[in-house]
């Protein structure tokens, strides 16, 4: 088997995650989809690392994880505070950005 | 390098800041102090502008009292001021008119009693109004004195801002919400039209710099550029010159305004206070025609010649069209606005006839139109403020109850229709003669304008001032001392310049001749010249 297959897997997962972001309305699930996309890219990075024989890919994947953690923390905090005020976690309910 | 010019510009600018910073308050004494300060500043400006005109040596250099301070060195932009006869005269006109406008608008910006709907009245209204007028004055004077193309552009555009607020923020009190809506429409229209023009001009200004820099003239200095163009050192290709000319001309034509770019003027003049309307038509718009004379002709002589016939036709259409529309108006202020459009047609015609009579006439026309329209419009404003209506049909028989008001209004009307003995006649006739010697057909058709002018001016007078006294007019008071103090100097100047315009022509003629020589144009020679001595020999 060629490790390229890992890349295919990553592409697939990324696409599923992206589609999920577009389809789901629950903010929490939305976040999960984003996490999935990040994980997919991590997988690709790890695979690249293996393909190139250097560890830089893994380092970047590591940083991605850290940033993802930070993002989740802030994002969930936002969701919680939105839920407090609007009693809903649906992103469609927050369309106040409209002109 | 004397700082006279910059002082003339700086005084009203500083006055604007000072006026705006004066303590606000609804008390009458505070407001009076504000007005007094503003009036004082404008009087000082008048003195300075008069000194400039007096110190200008008609037969000296083209630009005098020059000053130059570096500004944006990398683009060759400087803060350069200099004055020629035309600029000196027009700046003086501005400085004369602004105190008049202030006096005439003395109570226009007072915060009125709170409306029935509890409308919010800005407590700084008075300060704002007078500060804005001073700001306009400063910017207009800089425009007249600027000898740097970029500097001119900046102030040409910047004066839109205070004008926008003057039009949109202050108007007839009586109108109510509908009038406020109309006013804001007028202000936005004014701004959009002029911004569009300015935008096109900006492109042309940049284009000029690029083209000039290619040939080693990386500067915005007008005298340098103009003399390089005249000497052939700076050669613009035909297409480039035409495009740049049109870019500049478009902006000036919008501001002037030239038919068919005029439609913002009736709205703006109709909705603004009479004082603001005078500022628009007598002061700000003059920058447009002035700039045609100074920039279009000076920088693009060949294109000016190429486009002159087309522009003359547009101006001609404007003359007749404006006059015809003035005849058909129902609103006094809009009528004055359309009359002004007709007059601006004459001014532009005089400029592009490319004869010394035409251009001297056009320059005098700017001055005379400023004075006469100011008188006419301000008296109309006094009339409107008494009755609270702009509709001609609401008036009648004013002559009976307020003879002085009617008399001054008649003089304004007569000046508008260019009666000999009043200043506008001199300029209008010069423009007609100047046009006729080069383009007889256009000159003849333009002459119809004087018949139409009589029609709209006298029709307005007849409908408002004569006949049986209408109900709303019966208790109308005559002109008060303050109002008389506004009108009397204007009327006196109009008469004086109608009978003895020589001081002005002496200032203007050399500059006009210089402009004409830039365009490589001379007056057409008469077919059978006769001895120029006038009259038979004296016995």
């Amino acid at each position: 088997m060629n490790p390229v297959n890992y890349l295919y897997l990553a592409a697939l997962l990324f696409t599923i995650g992206a589609a999920g972001v577009l389809i789901r309305r629950n903010a929490i699930v939305l976040f999960m989809c984003v996490e999935l996309m990040l994980n997919a890219s991590n997988l690709a990075l790890v695979t690249f690392s293996r393909l190139h024989g250097t560890l830089d890919g893994q380092i970047i994947a590591f940083f991605t994880m850290v940033v993802a953690a930070a993002e989740v923390v802030v994002g969930l905090a936002i969701i919680v505070s939105i839920f407090r005020t609007r009693h809903s976690a649906s992103v469609d309910d927050s369309n106040l950005m409209k002109l | 390098m004397s700082a006279l010019l910059s002082a003339t510009c700086a005084v009203p600018a500083a006055g604007a800041v000072l006026t705006a910073a004066l303590p606000a308050g609804s008390s009458e004494s505070r407001r009076r102090a504000t007005k007094a300060v503003a009036l004082g500043v404008s009087a000082v400006t008048l003195v300075l502008a008069a000194v400039v005109a007096a110190r200008f040596e008609p037969h000296g250099d083209r630009y005098q009292l020059t000053e130059s301070y570096s500004w944006i060195r990398s683009f060759g932009i400087t803060f350069s001021l200099g004055v020629d006869g035309i600029g000196a005269v027009l700046a003086l006109l501005t400085a004369v008119l602004v105190p008049m406008v202030m006096l005439a608008s003395w109570h226009d910006a007072d915060p009125g009693p709170a409306g029935p709907d509890g409308t919010f009245e800005n407590r700084r209204r008075t300060q704002a109004f007078f500060a804005l007028i001073l700001a306009v004055e400063a910017m207009v004077i800089v425009s007249f004195y600027a000898t740097d193309v970029f500097l001119f552009y900046v102030f040409f555009e910047a004066m839109l801002i205070p004008m926008y607020f003057l039009i949109g923020g202050f108007g007839d009190r009586a109108g109510g919400p509908e009038s406020a809506r109309q006013r804001s429409y007028a202000a936005v229209k004014f701004l959009l039209y002029n911004l569009l023009g300015g935008l096109v001009m900006l492109a042309a200004v940049i284009g000029l710099y690029v083209v000039a820099q290619d040939q080693g003239f990386g500067t915005f200095d007008l005298p340098t550029l103009a003399s390089a163009v005249a000497d052939g050192k700076l050669q613009l290709s035909g297409t480039a010159e035409k495009a740049l000319f049109l870019g500049f001309f478009f902006a000036f034509a919008v501001k002037a305004p030239l038919w068919p770019l005029h439609t913002w003027l009736p709205n703006a003049m109709g909705e603004a206070t009479a004082g603001t309307a005078v500022l628009i038509t007598a002061v700000v718009d003059k920058v447009g025609t002035f700039a045609m004379l100074r920039f279009c002709l000076g920088l693009f002589p060949h294109a000016s010649k190429t486009f002159a016939p087309a522009i003359l036709v547009l101006a001609l259409v404007g003359i007749v069209y404006g006059a015809l529309l003035a005849v058909g108006q129902k609103d006094i202020k809009r009528l004055v606005a359309y009359a002004s459009i007709s007059h601006f047609g004459f001014i532009i015609m005089g400029i592009f006839a490319l004869t010394s009579q035409g251009q001297s006439g056009a320059t005098l026309y700017m001055v005379n139109h400023g004075l006469s329209t100011a008188a006419w419009m301000l008296v109309a404003g006094f009339l409107i403020s008494r009755r609270g209506s702009r509709l001609i049909a609401d008036y009648g028989g004013v002559q009976k109850v307020a003879p002085v008001l009617a008399g001054t209004f008649l003089i304004g009307s007569l000046a508008t229709l260019s009666l000999p003995g009043l200043a506008p006649f001199v300029s209008e006739f010069l423009v007609l003669v100047g046009t006729f010697t080069r383009y007889p057909a256009i000159g003849i058709v333009a002459t119809f304008g004087i018949v139409l002018a009589a029609l709209y001016a006298l029709l307005l007078y007849q409908r408002t001032m004569t006949g049986p006294v209408k109900d709303g007019v019966r208790t109308m008071p005559d002109l008060k001392a303050r109002e008389l103090a506004v009108v009397a100097p204007l009327v006196a100047l109009t008469v004086l310049l109608g009978v003895y315009p020589k001081p002005l022509t002496d200032l203007v003629n050399p500059s006009v001749n210089a402009t004409l020589s830039q365009v490589h144009e001379t007056d057409p020679a008469p077919a059978h010249p006769v001895a120029a001595t006038s009259g038979g020999e004296q016995k």
Partner: protein, 299 residues
Amino acid sequence: MTSYLAEATGTTSTGEAVQFWVLAVIAVGGALGMVLMRRAVHSALCLAATMLALAVCYMAQGAVFLGVVQIVVYTGAIMMLFLFVVMLVGVTSEDSLKEQLKGQRIAAALCGLGFGVLLIAGIANARLDHFTGLSEANAEGNVPGLARLIFTRYVWAFEVTGALLITAAIGAMVLTHREHVKAPKTQRELAAQRVKDNIQLPPLPAPGVYARHNAVDVPALLPDGTIAEDSVMATLRERGQIRDVSQAMLQRMAELENSTADWLGRPSSERPAVTGPRKSLEQVAANGRDGQADEEGVE
């Protein structure tokens, strides 16, 4: 775990291939499950499965440290955080199936499909028949190798990441923190307020009173057998997660009466009728979700 030893060729070991296919199926299945499950909690569980599968993939590719971090931090910490929030928002809350944005689903599917095709085509076009492998890079062990890089070449990024984490933590606190605009009311003031408002003067009833159980989501029963909604905490009320047991209680009472009557041998005519405010109960029962919860509760 030994697969990376036999590398520096065009292919991997068969073991890894088998492992990959198994993990790939789990990962894709988890991902699809996450997107398609209606309840957030199920989605979270599916995502956890995917992440675990990915963790194994990392390890299989010589990223041992990352694999562990994935399990500990992601699956362990982040997913738990998700679950907490899911709990807070409501475990049983789910998306309705109705899409509100016109064409959103079809467009999303098309975009996803297109994007997938593009990515896969891109990868397929790349010349990737040879790979280096990590045996050399991992010679002194994966963790020391990473550590060397992190503290040398990427030390600046690492420090910035630290700052980011702290910022995020503070940000989360700020976002969820409720600022007291006024000084909090004392108990005395609250009591005074209650008297003044005169809405609920006595203390709220405790949940489960007179009910069969005293779980927090079981409302107390009033003397007439109806439920006292006030006895359940506000969050549950808001989510509609009240377990109404009133009817079951009444049934049970009736059964008791019946059995007593049986035991006493009373004729059926003398037995007391099963009484109660039927109407209000029917109303409660008609309330869809509550009715469901009710049934579950009865079991």
